[in-house]
């Protein structure tokens, strides 16, 4: 079942993406929200109470439609266009760490422990 119903603009090129591992089809120009909700009934699950969420305001205000990419980034579904090969998942990304190793930073660099003079009287 789907939430959204296409009434118009159906003559657009199709593209594929995955949602929770499943291959899905969308149309070029769909937002992520449209892409997902024309075939699924939720974008994500609420952290509190566990209820399904499918967005609300459609204009980037309510912040209800954030969706996780498998790469780790998050996109606001109503204001982000679906791209071919996008890999979405409904669950927030839990930190994946190999036991016995520290987490690699995406960009190398040392942690600046004392990045600022903490106060004037140092």
């Amino acid at each position: 079942m789907a939430i959204l119903k296409r009434l118009a603009e159906t003559g657009r090129p199709a593209l594929t993406f995955t949602f929770d591992g499943q291959t899905c089809t969308a149309l070029a120009g769909d937002t992520v929200l449209t892409a997902v909700l024309t075939q699924a009934e939720r974008l994500r699950t609420s952290e509190f109470g566990g209820g399904p969420r499918a967005g609300f305001c459609m204009m980037g205000a309510c912040q209800d439609c954030w969706v996780q990419l498998e790469t780790g980034e998050r996109v606001r579904a109503c204001s982000t266009y679906i791209e071919p090969g996008m890999r979405l998942q409904s669950a927030a990304l839990a930190p994946a760490s190999t036991p016995g190793t520290l987490a690699a930073a995406s960009a190398p660099g040392t942690l600046t422990a004392a990045a600022w003079p903490e106060d004037d009287a140092s």
Partner: protein
């Protein structure tokens, strides 16, 4: 003009003034507490929320030890659990030199019951593998933890009121004097409180009152910069700090990560704002320390107004100029954990004339002109008190 006569007047309803009022009421002492805004809404209510002994200068440890006992009874004291959890506090080192300082601190503070455990890089990787690669080791204090200051601090004032303290919110004290017999504390021309004892618990604004009683102090305001992420899957099971200061982080049960480091800017004497200059560095440091955050979002920055003393120790103890006046302010960004013990000491000072916990290091006399030389502190100890949590 409303006039009230009471035994103890307290200026300031943060965790210090609120807990003082509570402990005084438990001893049956009449109390009037005057708070300019709402109890626990200033530094006490917007700080990082660290409840830790580790990292404090040795002179604070007796105070912190007593506070640790009080935190263990929090629901009995204030009626709520305040989301307090003994998650453990992990103070990290990013250099061998810093790790050596952590080891020295452990050696110097045995006997205070903190059970500090030094972890090397391999141990960190085993137990806290979500940490970024820059860490070389750390010191773990298993029973330190964190709580929600927005819930805990107002609850002290509420608990005091429930026990009969006369708590007045939205009342800004405009003058505090002593007429030779008693203290006269006025809020404009609407309220006058006359008392035998006065507790100066006015936080970042307390220096003004101290000066008014002839004992000026070099109190400044600091604005620790804070940020909070959206709710995330739970991964951080300890509260983090850093040797040398600069960043601290915890994750609440609902999943938000609360992270602090750097400074905001002052907007006016009463408010500060997270200055834009340091936001980028805080976020960059957060991602380096916790790489898992690179996909997460910040939903809010904030800061507060905290009273700070040059040696990062509070002013706590009797006035040097006026009998019956006691000061408790300038907790220098580390007041949340020790706050309840400070309040208890104030009650002790009023009722018994002495403190059962050594507070000599916090005497206001150290800022008397003749005591300037004595105010210098060894660099090592001061560095350890620089970090906020």
């Amino acid at each position: 003009m409303e006039r009230i006569d009471t035994e103890v007047a307290i200026i300031g309803g943060g965790i210090v003034g609120g807990s003082a009022a509570l402990f005084l009421r438990r001893l049956g002492v009449p109390v009037v507490l005057l708070e300019a805004a709402l109890c626990g809404a200033k530094a006490s209510g917007v700080n990082y929320g660290g409840v830790r002994r580790q990292g404090r200068g040795i002179e604070q440890l007796p105070l912190a030890r007593r506070a640790h006992e009080l935190w263990g009874q929090l629901p009995a004291l204030i009626g709520i659990d305040g989301e307090y959890v003994r998650s453990g506090h992990l103070k990290l080192a990013t250099s061998d030199a810093d790790l050596a300082l952590l080891e020295a601190y452990r050696d110097n503070t045995r006997g205070f019951g903190m059970d500090l455990e030094i972890l090397d890089r391999r141990a960190l990787a085993q137990r806290f593998g979500w940490l970024g690669e820059s860490v070389v080791g750390g010191s773990f204090c298993p029973q330190d933890g964190h709580a929600n200051p927005r819930l805990v601090s107002p609850a002290f004032g509420r608990a005091a009121a429930a026990l009969g303290a006369d708590v007045r919110e939205g009342v800004r004290v405009t003058s505090a004097t002593h007429d030779g017999t008693r203290f006269i504390v006025r809020a404009g021309d609407t309220l006058e409180v006359r008392s035998r004892y006065l507790l100066n618990c006015a936080g970042a604004w307390a220096g003004r009152f101290a000066e008014g009683f002839g004992e000026p102090v070099p109190e400044t305001s600091i604005h620790p910069l804070m940020m909070v992420t959206e709710p995330l899957p739970l991964f951080m099971n300890v509260s983090l700090g850093m040797q040398g200061g600069g960043i601290y982080a915890r994750q609440v049960a609902r999943g938000n990560c609360v992270i602090g480091g750097g400074r905001g800017v002052s907007a006016d004497p009463d408010y500060a704002r997270p200055g834009r200059a340091n936001l980028g560095a805080l976020m960059a440091n957060a991602v380096k320390l916790l790489p898992v955050l690179r996909g997460a979002q910040v939903i809010r920055f904030w800061t507060g107004v905290e009273g700070n003393m040059p040696d990062h120790n509070p002013v706590l103890g009797p006035s040097a100029t006026v009998p019956g006046l006691f000061h408790a302010f300038g907790l220098s960004g580390a007041g949340f954990q020790i706050g309840p013990a400070v309040g208890e000491i104030l009650a002790d000072l009023v009722v018994h004339g002495r403190s059962s916990i050594p507070i000599d290091a916090f005497r206001i006399e150290r800022y008397a002109p003749a005591a300037h030389g004595a105010a210098a502190r060894p660099d090592r100890l001061r560095e350890q008190t620089l970090e906020s949590p």
